[in-house]
């Protein structure tokens, strides 16, 4: 996108620029919306971004069928309604849906397991895009593989559309522990262990080394999947998440405005019990979405197993 008359040395879309963008989202909440009204509500509630979908994960689960990227026109209306960053999901492996999202100027693309994948084996090569990508991960190896493909942001997969944050907690702790393990090896100069680790888990050695050195994921890491209450949000932040994605938790509840607002508050002030309480007050348990207990799901209904 070269415009008229430019001096030397100004470039667009380097990793640093993508990195810059996502770190602006830190400490914030991104909400799933399906139309502009909901997007407005999200913005007024203090969301730092919205995720546009055709159907909320819960409905995706109930309807079955093939779930694709949301309608282009809907996405654009949303972009013309709010000022906060707009992101959208695309099917795993579907290069062209991503191409389109970039074309219409979406700020962040989520190559997501909520939609029906077109290729279970191969994810999109994200280095070819200027728009930053976010991917889900159940474990550190999965996260590093996505980063290796060019993801600028990572989130836990959890089990979408269940309103049950247990899987997200499990994934977050799994990721953290592996990081600490690598960090332990690194600090004690046991590179061999890191080598064996990256072989056994099929991840690139350099990235494992980098993670080991930094002691954290080299990119921003959000919590996602089953967050339904402010307390859930605070819990995830407490577990080291940089921010929170809320899926069906908000717009499948019957008090969306208040809930949205409360979760924003709880996320920002997670380490201040008083405020979290204040946030907890703004919602009522009766109104929260009807959840699903993970132990009740049949194997082929699990979304978290898609992609690898």
């Amino acid at each position: 996108v070269l415009e008229e008359g430019s001096a030397p040395g100004r470039t667009v879309a380097t990793p640093l620029v993508k990195y810059g963008f996502v770190s602006m989202l830190k400490g914030g909440v991104i909400m799933d919306v399906t139309n502009p009204e909901q997007a407005g509500i999200a913005e007024d509630a203090g969301a730092v971004g919205v995720m546009v979908l055709d159907k909320l994960p819960y409905d995706v689960r109930m309807a079955g069928g093939v779930a694709r990227t949301a309608d282009v026109k809907v996405i654009e209306e949303v972009m013309n309604t709010i000022t906060i960053p707009v992101s959208a999901k695309c099917r795993i492996g579907h290069e062209w849906e991503a191409r389109i999202l970039e074309e219409i100027g979406v700020d962040l693309i989520d190559e997501s397991e909520v939609l029906t994948p077109v290729d279970e084996k191969a994810h999109i090569d994200k280095w070819l895009f200027k728009t930053p990508f976010v991917n889900g991960a159940r474990s550190l190896p999965e996260a590093l593989r996505r980063i290796h493909e060019g993801a600028s942001m990572i989130r836990t997969k959890g089990e979408p559309g269940t309103g049950n944050v247990a899987e997200a907690v499990r994934h977050m702790k799994l990721v953290n522990r592996d990081i600490y393990v690598l960090n332990g090896y690194y600090r004690n100069g046991d590179l061999e262990a890191i080598r064996i680790y990256s072989r056994e888990n099929k991840v690139p050695y350099e990235l494992a080394l980098l993670t080991a050195r930094l002691g954290r994921l080299p990119v921003v890491n959000f919590a996602a999947g089953g967050v339904a209450t402010p307390a859930d949000a605070a819990l995830m932040m407490w577990l080291g998440a940089d921010g929170v994605f809320v899926g069906s938790g908000i717009f499948k509840s019957s008090d969306p405005e208040a809930r949205a607002h409360a979760i924003v508050l709880a996320t920002a002030y997670w380490d201040d019990p008083e405020t979290v309480l204040e946030a907890q007050r703004m919602v009522s348990e009766k109104a929260s979405m009807l959840g699903l207990d993970v132990r009740q799901l049949k194997p082929e209904e699990l979304m978290q197993v898609r992609g690898e």
Partner: protein, 199 residues
């Protein structure tokens, strides 16, 4: 030992916080509650979402303390979202009037998302009056369309579609910039502010 505050409601306060700590003779403190404003000599407002930060400022009763903080003439450095927060007038390139809440401490008019979407973000160098050349990241950056009253634009940039436009403004000890020096790790602006903090 100058005590510099960083408004830590949302956004990348951490990058500021670490750069400031790497300066000798500076004590950096995160500010989330009104009471953490005491004894703060200077304040930095980081990047992030201006709507969110605005909301939280009101929500947590930081409105007044910040106004009188500015009233006391203590220097404030606002980056991007910060700049929007200080502006009196705010419009968006596509949405037009946003009617969003701001502190409105500076007499400037700001146009948000002026360069377009995220993929139009870039990195460039800017020359600021009295400060010198700064290398920074323009992330979904706004521009300062007009400065009136005692406010003046202290930095410009060329662009084929927008022509010459403002990217930094000053009014008393308040500095509003539309870019992110903390992303590229440039520390000139901080040094300048610390001097302003006197003693």
């Amino acid at each position: 030992m100058v005590k510099v505050g960083v408004l830590a409601l949302q956004g990348d306060y951490l990058e500021h916080y670490q750069l400031l700590r790497s300066l000798s003779g500076v004590e950096a403190v995160p500010v989330k509650h009104p009471r953490e404003l005491e004894g703060v000599d200077a304040l930095v407002i980081p990047g992030g979402e201006s709507t969110t930060i605005g909301l939280l400022v009101r929500k947590k009763g930081l409105e007044e303390p910040l106004k009188q903080f500015a009233g006391e003439g203590k220097p404030i450095l606002a980056t991007c979202a910060g700049a929007i927060l200080l502006a009196r007038e705010v419009v968006d390139r596509t949405v037009g009037e946003t009617g969003q809440y701001t502190l409105g401490l500076m007499d400037i008019a700001v146009v948000r998302n002026a360069y377009g979407r995220q993929r139009d973000s870039f990195i460039a160098s800017v020359t600021l009056k009295d400060i010198g050349e700064v290398k920074a990241a323009f992330i979904r950056a706004p521009i300062i369309a007009r400065a009136y009253g005692s406010a003046e634009i202290i930095g410009f940039l060329d662009d084929p579609t927008l022509g010459r436009h403002g990217v930094a403004a000053r009014q008393g000890n308040m500095y509003a910039v539309t870019f992110h020096p903390e992303i590229t790790g440039d520390i000139k602006l901080y040094k300048h502010i610390i001097q302003q903090a006197g003693r």
